[in-house]
């Protein structure tokens, strides 16, 4: 795995081109969106709400066992699915509608 900028950009492009992917948002540790393919207001809304959810989820997992950590979170709703993968400094949000 090469941690080169181009590789990462390519990966994100591939994700975007997958069937049913509606948006990709990258949010930094403070909850500020860094990169997005969605309009500004929705991005800010998603970033703020999901940031809290991820903190809560992570806190839950680690409280039970401090050596454990959250790998990813899927929130499936009627209309689409929100996938969140948290990292130490960032987290990535992808909204997909897989039945499209």
């Amino acid at each position: 795995m090469f941690c080169v900028k181009a590789e990462v950009e390519e990966t994100l492009k591939r994700i975007q081109s997958q069937k049913g992917v509606q948006a990709i948002i990258i949010v930094n540790a403070e909850g500020i969106p860094v990169k997005t393919t969605l309009d500004n207001s929705s991005t800010v809304q998603y970033a703020g709400l999901i940031h809290q959810l991820v903190m809560k989820a992570r806190s839950t997992v680690r409280d039970i066992d401090p050596q454990n950590d959250l790998t990813f979170l899927r929130v499936r709703s009627k209309k689409n699915e929100i996938m969140i993968a948290p990292d130490k400094d960032y987290f990535l949000i992808v909204i997909q509608n897989p039945t499209e």
Binding site: M1, C3, V8, T11, G20, V34, D63, D87, Y90
Partner: protein
């Protein structure tokens, strides 16, 4: 006279009038009091008559000068005069006084007065008021210290993290102390690197999560395939007697690999969802670049690792224990080792003409156990007729070097396939271009232990059985697959598949199940335990005119991957009939493990040893 004298102006009244009664009422009303006092009422803004008028008439007033002894005025007077309040107190005081001397009693009585004695002749009080200093308010406002809000939670994991961080710092300090003097310059260099890293774009930090997300998205897209892979079992197998089917799952393809054929497939033993695909070309005329790709079942859309090579890849092998080491053999005769942990498109080592690379395409590479010096080593076989052992030797400088160790003197024919015995380390088989198979040993480098006349054309693959120590299998472009017992010179089983056979593979779960792929795009699965003459599954898995080149069973899951000459790798799930285990007899516990498999095979073989003839198709 005492006679009544009438005054002259007396009123004369008649008798009747005299008897008239006149009522006179005595009231307490004051006749002088006014009867209609009117006062202005501010409340009603009008003059109103007072309802009751005071009728009291005062005739005489004299103010006296007597005070009641309990009243306030009386008390004040007494205090002024110093007269004791009660007669009872008085008596008590005099008693005390009698008990003491006279002057004392005087003092006591004096003391009780508590009055300031002033000299009435020569006393003057003088008071003056001093100047009061003017009050002035002086205020000073400082700049408030900068404030920041701090909030944190004390969770179990935050405490744990803090301890881990502390420990890491301590270890760093220890390390620094150890390597302080000798590596000063290196540290400087490292510092520079670190600076560069911090300045690099933020986007690179997202790499790991981007990968996870990609897998999640792909899982959603291919949700049905993932479910099939995990849970689908073909129910119609029960009705199908003994045949089975193959369910197509994911299909792996890469844009840059379109014009290349799959020349090698290998599953990773440690990460059972990772497999390697070697791409090159079998055509002599169409030689160009090659590729080495690693795919994971978790993401069928894009490979995990991509390596481009100068020459077509012909074979590869992943080390059984150190699954990041991959040995690759090329069409131009080179061998190379890739280390997946290193970043970089180049192999860790590559053989050159000086280090003794083969002069013809390398057809098979196989890792071996580490030698006595704990160096890694592997074998390769090539059309130039040599079977060569390569050892990675760690030289002083820290770099790796391949050293060459020729195991067999060049034999006349060209080797096309190689396989080592699973249990017996030194025993291996080499298949040749002329169709012979040689059984060799590492300890005898100049002689073969045995030679089998196997096929009419080149032997494409030889594979030892995973369980039974004596059985191996070979396939060839002469349309046949043959199964051998290495102690017997002629094949135990022969199968004709009506097309050139590209590859065969034994299954890892049963000693009697194996699969073969042919150039007509079909996969044939055999189970000798069920049917000794025919395949229990023959299925075309790719489009027409596509040749299948390689096949491999997954070590853990019931799937196989097949590679074709268009660069695609298709994964297929084996239906239950193809993975049958012997049925349990009621009341008996089924013994599990490789011994069962061996026993199964042995039973089959023993059936065949009695009759002299080999069963023909």
């Amino acid at each position: 006279g005492k006679t009544m004298v009438k005054p002259p102006d007396q009123l004369d009244l008649s008798e009747a009038e005299l008897k008239e009664e006149f009522t006179r009422i005595l009231t307490a009303n004051n006749p002088h009091a006014p009867q209609n006092i009117v006062r202005y009422s501010f409340k009603e803004r009008s003059y109103k008559q007072i309802s009751s008028v005071d009728q009291l008439a005062i005739h005489f007033v004299l103010e006296g000068n007597l005070l009641h002894k309990d009243s306030d005025e009386a008390r004040r007077q007494r205090a002024r005069d110093g007269i004791p309040e009660d007669g009872a107190e008085d008596a008590g005081d005099t008693e005390e006084g009698a008990g003491e001397e006279r002057p004392d009693s005087l003092e006591i009585s004096l003391g009780k007065k508590e009055r300031k004695l002033t000299n009435q002749f020569n006393f003057s009080e003088r008071a003056s008021q001093t100047m009061n200093n003017p009050m002035r308010e002086r205020e000073c406002q400082t700049e408030p210290p900068p404030r920041g809000k701090f909030s944190a939670t004390a969770n179990q994991w935050e405490i744990y993290d803090a301890y881990v961080e502390e420990r890491r710092k301590q270890e760093k300090v220890k390390e620094k102390q150890k390597v302080l003097s000798s590596k000063k310059e290196e540290d400087k260099g490292k510092k520079k690197l670190q600076l560069v890293e911090n300045q690099s774009d933020d986007i690179t930090k997202v790499a790991k999560v981007a990968k996870i997300i990609e897998r999640m998205v792909t899982q959603n897209t291919f949700d049905d395939i993932a479910q099939d892979f995990k849970y689908f079992e073909d129910a119609s197998d029960e009705f199908r007697d003994q045949e089975g089917t193959l369910l197509p799952l994911w299909k792996f393809q890469h844009d840059k690999a379109k014009r290349l054929s799959v020349t090698a497939l290998c599953w990773n033993q440690k990460y059972k969802d990772l497999f390697a695909v070697g791409l090159g070309s079998y055509e002599f005329t169409r030689q160009g670049q090659g590729m080495l790709l690693f795919y994971s079942l978790k993401n069928a859309t894009f490979p995990e690792y991509i390596f481009s090579t100068m020459s077509g890849v012909m074979c590869l092998d992943i080390h059984k224990q150190l699954s990041y080491l991959v040995a690759v053999g090329f069409y131009d005769g080179c061998v190379a080792i890739y280390n997946l942990k290193e970043q970089g498109p180049q192999p860790v080592y590559r053989s050159t003409a000086r280090s003794g690379k083969h002069t013809d395409p390398v057809w098979q590479v196989k890792w071996q156990k580490d030698d006595t010096d704990n160096n890694h080593n592997f074998f390769s076989v090539s059309s130039d007729g040599r079977v060569v052992s390569w050892t990675l030797v760690k030289v002083l400088g820290g770099t790796l070097r391949l050293s060459l160790d020729l195991y067999l003197k060049p034999f006349l024919s060209c080797g096309t396939s190689l396989d080592f015995h699973k249990q017996i380390d030194y025993l291996f088989l080499v298949g040749t271009e002329e169709g012979k198979i040689h059984k060799c040993s590492k300890s005898y480098s100049s002689q073969f232990l045995e030679t089998y006349v196997a096929h009419n054309m080149a032997v494409d693959a030889v594979k030892w059985n995973h369980f039974h120590p004596k059985v191996f299998m070979s396939c060839s472009s002469d349309w046949t697959v043959k199964i051998w017992d290495h102690t017997i010179k002629s094949p135990v089983f022969t199968f004709d598949l009506n097309a050139a056979v590209g590859d065969v593979a034994w299954s890892p779960y049963s000693a009697t199940v194996f699969a073969a792929v042919t150039t007509d795009g079909k996969v044939h699965v055999f189970d000798l335990h069920i049917n000794k003459y025919e395949a229990i599954c023959q299925q075309a898995v790719v489009a027409k005119k596509t040749k299948l080149t390689h096949i491999e069973f997954n070590p853990a899951y019931p799937i196989i991957i097949v590679g074709d000459d268009r660069g695609y790798v298709t994964s297929l799930k084996l239906s239950p009939n193809l993975r049958k285990k012997p049925k349990e007899k009621k009341g008996q516990e089924l013994p599990k493990g490789p011994e069962v498999e061996v026993a199964k095979m042995e039973k089959l073989l023993s059936l065949l040893r009695e009759p002299e003839t080999v069963p023909q198709d």
